[in-house]
């Protein structure tokens, strides 16, 4: 059995979960800081800023999804890991990278946009929806990366 192949595939799963998760954690924390600042002055805005805080959390979930799909595809979750060649292992590793890299950076960018949205909510709560939409636009690129990673994972011949 070529253990390098499966090691590379598992590394891919780890990277997807790791970087997307770190990006989300940092971004959700950043928006949380800003949201807490607003709530400390006006507690009635809690529910509005909470939505903004949740937005950059999705990348972490996408990373987790990719990790589970990848581990499932290579049989690790079923208990019978596939005998992958080094090339196949590299392909799985590459398949995870869109989610790992785009997940990290889009979460950070979305966090900054969401903080700006918190600013809108603080000053003009009636325009809270606009702040949410602007921050949600960043999500597009995380979803595109998620799609690419899924397509690759399911189309790599084993």
């Amino acid at each position: 059995m070529n253990s390098l192949g499966i090691t590379l595939a598992i590394t891919g799963a780890v990277l997807a979960a790791l970087f997307a998760g770190i990006g989300s954690a940092r971004a959700v924390g950043l928006v949380g800081e800003a949201a807490a600042g607003v709530v400390s002055v006006d507690p009635s805005k809690f529910s509005k800023v909470l939505i903004l805080q949740l937005l950059p959390g999705t990348q972490g979930l996408y990373g987790l999804l990719i990790a589970i799909l990848l581990l499932s595809r290579v049989g690790v979750l079923g208990g019978e890991a596939a005998d992958l060649t080094t090339a196949q292992g590299l392909m799985f590793l590459a398949a995870s990278l869109p989610m790992a890299i785009v997940g990290y950076f889009s979460a950070m960018a979305q966090g900054r946009a969401a903080v700006a949205g918190v600013g809108i909510t603080a000053k003009k709560p009636e325009h809270n929806g606009k702040g949410i939409i602007m921050a949600a636009m960043v999500e597009t690129y995380a979803i595109l990366a998620l799609l690419v990673s899924i397509l690759l994972i399911y189309n790599i011949a084993i």
Partner: protein, 313 residues
């Protein structure tokens, strides 16, 4: 992550901006028939918080950003004013406390004692050397005006130096504008009063935009030369207003600082929005004082409007 500093503080400040008085509020206050109506209007806008003093706002800002040295530059003017007050009180034997302005970076309770004991090491670094030199100058010459002018020029020099050393772009611009406005005012007054070169050289600080020697020479030649210099340096509006009235020039000085503050309004991170909010509160309080004083002296609505400073919101 340095670019995302103070997210918490800036968001809180943005929520507080809703309680700042707008142009419409000021119009209503100008039109208010008396103290009772003024208080009712303020209470309706600000709720239980009423008008927050600059000191309260400063304490709040520092609680959000306790490690920011950059923000402390905003209080340097007050610090050096308090130094002047403490030195004068030492010489005259009067109680200094009533002349102090707050907020300040200094420990006002012990300031007079520190100066009396010449324990300059207990003062914050930015004021230490100036305190020592000003004290010596005052003792040597017994010229309070010269000592004040020296401290004023040092204030501007240190604001500029510290903003360069640990301030961001916003604070550097603030320092430049503060120095330019103060230098123009000093040079103009000295020129009108025909002060000698030695006094001008002590009183004028100079900045990147207005060279000290050029300013001193122009002031010595006369106000016309000074105006020509200002026009050449891109301060023709300041020169025009200075010719019209000192009050209009003072308003222009406050307005350029507020225009700078407004550039930080849209930012979500960093010390700039915090500094801008503090400047906004100062401007608001100045406007309220203008309304109050103008009313006391029976000024008409048009006069009050002319003197009103640009607002942050």
């Amino acid at each position: 992550m340095s670019t995302t500093k103070y997210a918490n503080a800036v968001a809180a400040i943005k929520a507080m901006e809703n309680t700042l008085l707008t142009r419409n509020d000021m119009e209503q206050l100008i039109g208010a028939s008396g103290k009772a109506e003024t208080e009712a209007l303020l209470s309706a806008k600000k709720g239980a918080s009423e008008t927050e003093s600059a000191e309260t706002v400063w304490k709040m800002i520092k609680s959000y950003a306790p490690e920011s040295r950059e923000l402390e530059i905003l209080l340097y003017k007050n610090d050096f004013h308090n130094l002047k007050a403490a030195l004068k009180s030492m010489i005259s034997g009067r109680e200094a406390n009533r002349y102090y302005v707050r907020p300040t970076n200094l420990d006002l309770e012990h300031l007079s004692g520190i100066l009396a004991e010449k324990d300059y090491g207990s003062l914050p670094v930015h004021i230490r050397e100036t305190a020592r030199e000003a004290y010596e100058l005052l003792v040597r010459t017994s010229d309070g005006q010269l000592s004040d002018s020296f401290i004023d020029a040092e204030t501007l020099r240190i604001i500029q130096k510290d903003s360069e050393d640990f301030g961001g772009e916003f604070m550097q611009r603030y320092a430049q504008l503060t120095a330019v406005c103060a230098d123009i005012k000093t040079a103009y007054r000295c020129s009108r009063m025909k002060k000698p070169r030695v006094f001008l050289e002590t009183a004028v600080c100079g900045s990147k935009e207005l060279d000290k020697d050029a300013l001193v020479n122009a002031a010595l030649e006369g106000t016309e030369s000074l105006m020509t210099l200002l026009e050449g340096a891109g301060y023709s509006e300041a020169a025009r207003l200075l010719n019209e009235s000192a009050a209009q020039f003072e308003k222009w000085c406050d307005d350029v600082i507020m225009e700078l503050a407004q550039t930080a309004r849209m930012k979500s991170f960093g010390a700039e929005p915090l500094a801008a909010y503090y400047l906004a509160v100062e401007a608001e309080q100045k406007n309220l004082r203008i309304i109050s004083v103008c009313r006391e002296f029976g000024a008409d609505r048009e006069t009050i409007n002319e003197r009103m400073r640009t607002l942050y919101v």
